[in-house]
Amino acid sequence: MTALPDTTKRKLGLVIDLDTCVGCHACVIACKGWNTQVHGAPLSDTDPYGAAPEGTFLNRIHSYEVQPANAPAQIVHFPKSCLHCEDAPCVTVCPTGASFKREEDGIVLVNEDDCMGCGLCAWACPYGAREMDAAAGVMKKCTLCVDRIYNEHLPEIDRVPACVRTCPAGARHFGDLGDPDSDVSQLVAARGGFDLMPEQGTKPVNKYLPPRPRDQGAIGADEGDIDVLAPYLAPVTEGPGGFLGWLDRALGQLPGGRG
C-alpha cells in the first residue's frame, strides 16, 4: 500500500462554477485532446465508429435534473474529474506505489510504468474519477495537466490545465487552494464553495461553487405577488386617449422639446 504525504506545500486544484457551466463539453474534449498527446499512454477509443464506442476520458460532464417543490425544474451540469483529495483513498489502496500524491503541489498522479492495471484505485475512489485505458491497460486520471502547468515551452498565461484554458463560459478556475489569499480561495469564500461528498472523508482539494438561487421570480409571481416591482408598471393614465395626453406632457419635458 502507498503512503500519502503528511502535508503538501501547495494544494493545486480546480474550482468549478455550477452557476455558470452550460454543459457544453468543451472541457471534456480539450482534456481528451491534450492528454492523448502528451502525458503517459494516449487516451484510447475502442469501437470509435461502431455500436458501442467507448473511450477513456479524464473529465466528463453529468447532467442532473432537480425538481423543487414550488418552482420549475432545473438542470445542473456537473463536470467531474479527479478532485486531488488530501486523503486520497486511491493512493493508499495502490499495491504497487503507482498511485501517488505529490508533496510539492498535492497533485495525485499515476506512474504508468508501475501500474499493473489492477483497478483497485478506481474501486476505492468514491467519485468514479479514474478510468482504465482499455488499450494500454493502465489507470488514467486527471493530472491537472501537470505537463502544462510547469511547461516552459508554453507561455506563462497558458500554464493552466487544458480544461480551464478552453472553458468558454469561464466556469473553471485553477490555483492553489492551500493559499487563503489566492484568487481561487477568495472565490470559494465569496461564493460558498463546497466539497463534493464531504462525508467520504477524502478532503477533496477541488471545490464546486453552487448554482445561485433560480426562479425567484416564479415563486410568488405565479401567485400574483409582485409588490416590489409593481410601481414600475403603474399606468401613466387610463385608456389610449389618456395615453396621448400623457405623451404630450412627457414630450414637452424632452430637451429641445415642445416647451
Partner: protein, 934 residues
C-alpha cells in the same frame, strides 16, 4: 517515482487558422508534430473566441482523420440511392460537369439549380451562380433562420448572431429567447460567463431548459410559437406605464414619421417630401419637415391634415394597437403557458433595469442631424434570440416584435443594449434588390438575394408566376431574402413552377436531416418519369464526407476538410467582426490532403473557366484565377474592395479599401489568420446615426456614402405588399394569396397562430428539435469523440405527458403527425413546457452513411423528426401546393410541428428504418489512439 518531464515538447509548430466546426468561426492554434495535426486549441489573440474553444473545435482533429472523408471524385454506377459509385479522375469529373452545364447555360440557365448549404463562401458561390445566369441560387438560410435575419434588416438594419451582440460589459439584464443552443456559440458562452461573473441577471424564454437556459436565473417555459404574444404583452405593459424611451424613439426611429391614415392607394404609406424623404413634425415649429432636417427634434405625437387625408405618427398607431386589451397579459397568458402575473413581473423587471440606472459613457458624439450629444446614454437591458422563435410560420413577425420591444426601450446601439458588428448596421435600402430574370448565355443582372421594398421588386413573370424554382420573392413569400432551399427538391420534383435539369448542391444533407419530410425527399430524388429518366435528371454534389446525400447524387466532387483548404471569412459575407472592431479571417491548408480531393471553391473556379463564365476567364479565354486563394487575393467586387479587407495595397498597409496585395495571405498567416481594425471611440455606439461611424464605414468600404437611417418600427415595404393585397397598384397577387398576404404583411408586428393550431385537438403536442451544443452546425456524428457524448437521442417528454400515458424508463413511443409516424425511445424531462416534446436533431443517421457501422446507435435507435414534417401543408382541396413556410420570408416552419403520442412496447430499432446505403469509403479503425510524432 515521478516519470513525467515537467516541460515536454508541445509541438513542432503552431499554425493559426479558422475553425469550421460550426458557424462561429473561432481562431484556432493547430499544433503540428511531424507534419500531422496533434492538438487544436483556441487562439488567444482572436477577436471571436479570445483563446477559448468549444468541444467541436477541439474535436476538429477527429474530423481530419475521419474515415467518412471522401477520397476521390465519384461517378454513380448503381441506381440513385444505392450508394454504388466508381472512382473517376478529376478531369473526367470536371468535364462531365461542364458537359452537363454548358448546354443549360446556352439554352435555359434556370435549369441549373445551385444551392449551397452551410456555405461560408456565399459571396463567392453567389458570384459564380450570377455569372452562370441561373436565377436558382441560395444557401441554407431559408431552412435555418432567414426570419431572424430579414426581420432584423427590415426593422433595424442588422440582426442577431453574426450581425450584432449584446453589450456584455454593461448590460445588467439579459433576456434570451428561443430554442437551439447555437449562434454564435463561443461568444454567447463567453458573454454569459461575464454576466455571471459580475452578477448580472439572465432570464430565458424557451420551452426547453437545456444549455444556456439551464443557467438562467429565471426560466419561462413558454409554449412554442407564442413568443410574439408574450413580447407584445410586455410591450403593452411598458407602454401603459410609459416605460419607453421617448427621446430615443423621437430621434432615431420612425415612430414620429407621419403615416397616411386615410383610405385609397396611399393609405398606410409615409408622407414624403418632393425628394421622397419621410416627413415628421418638428417639435419646435410644428411644421412638417424631412426626418433628417438639421437640428430637428421630431414630434412623436405629430399629426397633419394634407390633401384631404389625416397623417398620424407611427407612434400613435402603435400605441393604439398595443395598448388594446388583446395584448394584455391576461389575454395571452393561457396561450403562452405563462401566468399573467409572471408576464407583468417580467415587464416590471425590464422597466426597472432599463430606466432606473442608465449606463452613461462620457463620450460626446454628433448625430446625423448635426446635433452634438455630450454623453452616450443607454439602457442596460439586452436581448438575444436563437432560431427557435423564428422557425414558425409567424416567425418573421415574432422577430419583428422582439426588435420593437428592444427599440421601444432604447436598447439598440446604445450602451448596455444590443450592438451591431461592422459592416452592420446597414439600412434595407443599402442592400440589393433580388435578381432573377435570366437570358441564355448571359449573367444575371445583379445578385440573386436581396430585400424587396415593394411588389415591383418581386421575382415573378408577367403572369405572376415565380421565376425561381423555390418560389422565393414571389407572392407566396415576398421577402424571402435567403431563398427557400427546403423547397427546391419538392418543387423540382413537382415541376412547379417548372422542371429543372441539374441540381447542384454543396454541403447540404438534403436527403436526410436538412429536408422537411426526408422520406418524401428520398422518393423525389429517386423517382423516374415514364421515359425511365429521373424526374430530377442530374444531381451533382460536393461534400467532404460520406453523408446521406452522397448516395443520391450522380457525380460527387469531394471537398477537403477545413484544415486542408483556403477560405476567407469575408466582410462581403457573414462577418466575424465585434461591436468595436471590423475583422475578417482566412483558412489556409495547415495540412495537405492525403486524398484526391479538392476544395470546392477551387473546383468552382475551374468549372467557371471551363464554362467561360464572365469573371472567371480573361479576355483571351484562359482561366482568370488559378484557384480560390488566387481569387481571394485578386478579385475586386468594387474598385479597391475585395474578399479580404486587411493588408491591402501594394505594401499591405491599407485596411478596408486598397489595391490587391499579392502577399496578402502571407500577411494574414503571419498575423494569426485574421485581421482586425477598431471602430473609433466616438463611433462605438449609435452607429446608424453617428456621423463619425458613418464616415468610418465609408472609409472602410462598407458603403460608398454615409447611410444614416431610422429604425423601422412600422415597415413601409410590408405595407406596400399589403396595399397590393387590398387591390391597389399595378402589381396584383393571385386571388388565392390575397387574404393571406393582407394578414401576413402587417406593417406593425403582430402575432398569428402558427400552422397546425387548427389541428390542436387531434395533435395536442408541440414537437421540437435542436442540435446539442457539442455538435451544433457541425458534422459531428462521425466524430469519434463527439459521438461518445451524443450518440443517442431519446424523445424527451414532459412530466404531464409522461404520467398521463404511464411511461416508464426504457419505454418507446409511437409519434404521429398529419404527415407520418415514427417509433422511438423516450425519456422523461421535467424542465420542459408541459405541451412540448423534443429531441436532439440529426443524431439519427442512415445506415451505411458516415462510415459508421450499420449497428451504430445513431443508425438503429437514432431518429429524425423530419419524417413528421411536411414541406407542404396538408392539401386544402384547392389545387394549390401550400408551403410549410413563413408567408413573409419562406422560412421553413419546422417548429410548427404538432403530434400525438402513444406508448408502445420497446423496439430493436427506431422506425422508419431504411435499408443501408452503400458506402463509398472503407470502414473506420476498431481502435483509436491519436498520438502523432515521437
Amino acid at each position: 517515482m515521478n516519470t513525467h518531464t515537467p516541460s515536454p515538447r508541445v509541438s513542432d509548430e503552431v499554425r493559426k487558422t479558422t475553425c469550421y466546426m460550426c458557424a462561429c468561426r473561432c481562431g484556432i492554434d493547430v499544433h503540428m508534430k511531424d507534419g500531422q495535426v496533434a492538438y487544436i486549441e483556441g487562439n488567444r489573440d482572436h477577436p471571436v473566441n479570445r483563446g477559448v474553444l468549444c468541444a467541436k473545435g477541439s474535436a476538429g482533429i477527429m474530423q481530419v482523420n475521419a474515415p467518412s472523408r471522401l477520397r476521390a471524385p465519384l461517378k454513380r454506377v448503381g441506381p440513385r440511392g444505392s450508394g454504388q459509385f466508381e472512382e473517376i479522375t478529376w478531369e473526367e469529373a470536371l468535364e462531365t460537369a461542364a458537359s452537363w452545364l454548358k448546354p443549360l447555360r446556352e439554352s435555359a440557365p434556370e435549369k441549373l439549380a445551385f444551392f449551397t448549404g452551410r456555405d461560408q463562401s456565399q459571396s463567392f458561390t453567389s458570384f459564380w451562380a450570377q455569372a452562370f445566369g441561373t436565377p436558382n441560387y441560395a444557401a441554407h438560410g431559408g431552412f435555418c433562420s432567414v426570419n431572424m435575419a430579414a426581420a432584423g434588416i427590415y426593422t433595424m438594419g442588422g440582426a442577431f448572431w453574426e450581425f450584432g451582440q449584446p453589450d456584455w460589459e454593461r448590460t445588467r439584464l439579459f433576456l434570451l429567447f428561443g430554442v437551439a443552443e447555437d449562434h454564435d456559440s463561443n461568444p454567447i458562452k463567453m458573454g454569459l460567463g461575464r454576466l455571471k461573473a459580475r452578477g448580472a441577471r439572465v432570464v430565458s424564454v424557451n420551452p426547453i431548459r437545456t444549455g444556456y437556459n439551464a443557467i438562467a436565473d429565471d426560466w419561462l417555459g413558454i409554449t412554442p410559437g407564442t413568443d410574439g404574444l408574450l413580447i407584445l404583452a410586455l410591450v403593452h405593459e411598458l407602454l401603459k406605464a410609459g416605460r419607453v424611451d421617448l427621446e430615443y424613439l423621437a430621434r432615431f426611429t420612425n415612430a414620429p414619421v407621419l403615416v397616411n391614415a386615410g383610405d385609397g392607394p396611399e393609405a398606410g404609406l409615409f408622407l414624403r417630401d418632393a425628394g421622397g424623404k419621410p416627413l415628421v413634425i418638428d417639435s419646435a415649429t410644428g411644421e412638417a419637415v424631412p426626418f433628417d432636417a438639421p437640428g430637428v427634434l421630431p414630434d412623436l405625437a405629430g399629426s397633419l391634415d394634407r390633401d384631404g387625408a389625416t397623417h398620424r405618427s407611427v407612434f400613435q398607431l402603435l400605441a393604439e394597437r398595443y395598448l388594446g386589451p388583446a395584448h394584455a397579459p391576461e389575454a395571452v397568458a393561457d396561450r403562452c403557458g405563462i401566468p399573467a402575473p409572471r408576464i407583468r413581473a417580467l415587464a416590471a423587471e425590464i422597466a426597472r433595469a432599463a430606466f432606473d440606472a442608465p449606463v452613461v459613457i462620457d463620450q460626446p458624439w454628433t448625430d446625423f442631424r448635426g446635433i452634438r450629444h455630450d454623453r452616450m446614454v443607454g439602457r442596460p437591458v439586452s436581448f438575444h434570440a436563437m432560431r427557435g422563435i423564428s422557425a414558425h410560420a409567424n416567425g418573421f413577425q415574432t422577430a419583428r416584435a422582439l426588435h420593437l420591444l428592444q427599440i421601444l426601450l432604447g436598447t439598440v446601439e446604445a450602451p448596455g443594449g444590443f450592438r451591431f458588428k461592422p459592416p452592420y448596421p446597414k439600412p434595407v435600402e443599402a442592400h440589393p434588390r433580388p435578381n432573377a430574370t435570366c437570358r441564355p448565355g448571359t449573367p444575371l443582372a445583379g445578385p440573386h438575394l436581396g430585400f424587396p421594398l415593394g411588389p415591383e421588386d418581386l421575382c415573378i413573370n408577367d403572369d405572376g408566376t415565380p421565376q425561381r424554382i423555390d418560389k422565393a420573392f414571389s407572392w407566396e413569400h415576398p421577402m424571402s431574402a435567403h431563398g427557400l432551399m427546403h423547397m427546391v427538391i419538392p418543387n423540382a420534383h413537382a415541376g412547379d413552377p417548372y422542371r429543372i435539369d441539374t441540381l447542384f448542391l454543396y454541403m447540404a444533407n438534403m436527403s436526410w436531416n436538412s429536408s422537411m419530410n426526408s422520406t418524401a425527399a428520398m422518393a423525389a430524388l429517386t423517382e423516374r418519369a415514364a421515359d425511365g429518366e429521373y424526374v430530377i435528371p442530374r444531381i451533382i454534389y460536393s461534400d467532404a464526407y460520406a453523408s446521406e446525400m452522397v448516395a443520391y447524387a450522380d457525380l460527387i466532387l469531394p471537398d477537403t476538410t477545413y484544415l486542408e483548404r483556403h477560405d476567407c471569412i469575408s466582410l462581403l459575407d457573414r462577418p466575424i467582426s465585434e461591436a468595436e472592431a471590423a475583422a475578417d479571417a482566412i483558412r489556409w491548408p495547415v495540412v495537405a490532403p492525403d486524398r484526391d480531393v479538392r476544395a470546392f471553391q477551387s473546383v468552382l473556379i475551374d468549372l467557371g473557366a471551363r464554362l467561360g463564365l464572365p469573371g472567371f476567364v480573361k479576355d483571351d479565354g484562359t482561366a482568370a484565377y488559378a484557384d480560390y486563394a488566387d481569387y481571394i487575393v485578386n478579385h475586386q467586387r468594387r474598385t479597391g474592395v475585395g474578399p479580404l479587407a486587411g493588408f491591402r495595397g501594394a505594401e499591405g498597409t491599407q485596411g478596408g479599401r486598397g489595391a490587391p496585395n499579392p502577399r496578402q495571405l502571407d500577411r494574414y498567416i503571419a498575423n494569426g489568420g485574421f485581421w482586425v481594425t477598431h471602430v473609433p471611440d466616438e463611433a462605438a455606439f449609435f452607429k446608424p446615426w453617428n456621423r463619425v461611424y458613418q464616415n468610418w464605414a465609408v472609409e472602410m468600404g462598407f458603403y460608398d456614402a454615409p447611410q444614416p437611417y431610422l429604425f423601422q418600427l412600422y415597415s413601409e415595404p410590408m405595407r406596400r405588399f399589403q396595399l397590393a393585397a387590398e387591390g391597389h397598384g399595378p402589381h396584383q397577387p393571385p386571388e388565392h394569396l390575397r387574404e393571406g398576404l393582407r394578414a401576413a404583411m402587417d406593417p406593425l408586428p403582430h402575432w398569428s397562430p402558427p400552422f397546425g393550431a387548427d389541428t390542436a385537438q387531434d395533435y395536442p403536442l408541440h414537437a421540437l428539435t435542436q442540435r446539442p451544443m457539442a455538435m451544433y452546425h457541425s458534422w459531428g456524428s462521425q466524430n469519434a469523440w463527439l459521438r461518445q457524448i451524443h450518440g443517442v437521442n431519446p424523445l424527451y417528454l414532459p412530466t404531464r405527458v409522461w404520467q398521463a400515458h404511464g411511461f416508464a424508463d426504457g419505454d418507446w413511443a409511437r409519434v404521429t403527425s398529419p404527415h407520418g409516424t415514427i417509433e422511438v425511445p423516450v425519456a422523461h424531462m421535467a424542465a420542459l413546457n408541459e405541451h412540448t416534446i423534443w429531441t436532439w436533431n440529426a443524431i439519427g443517421k442512415r445506415r451505411g452513411a458516415w462510415a459508421l457501422d450499420p449497428d451504430a446507435p445513431e443508425a438503429t435507435k437514432g431518429f429524425l423528426l423530419n419524417h413528421l414534417i411536411g414541406a407542404l401543408l396538408p392539401a386544402r382541396g384547392d389545387g394549390h401546393r401550400w408551403a410549410n413556410s413563413d408567408p413573409v420570408t419562406g422560412q421553413a416552419a419546422w417548429f410548427d410541428l404538432r403530434v400525438k403520442i402513444e406508448r408502445v412496447a420497446p423496439r430493436h430499432s427506431a422506425k422508419p428504418l431504411y435499408p443501408p446505403v452503400g458506402s463509398p469509403v472503407p470502414k473506420g479503425v476498431r481502435l483509436l489512439r491519436w498520438r502523432v510524432g515521437k
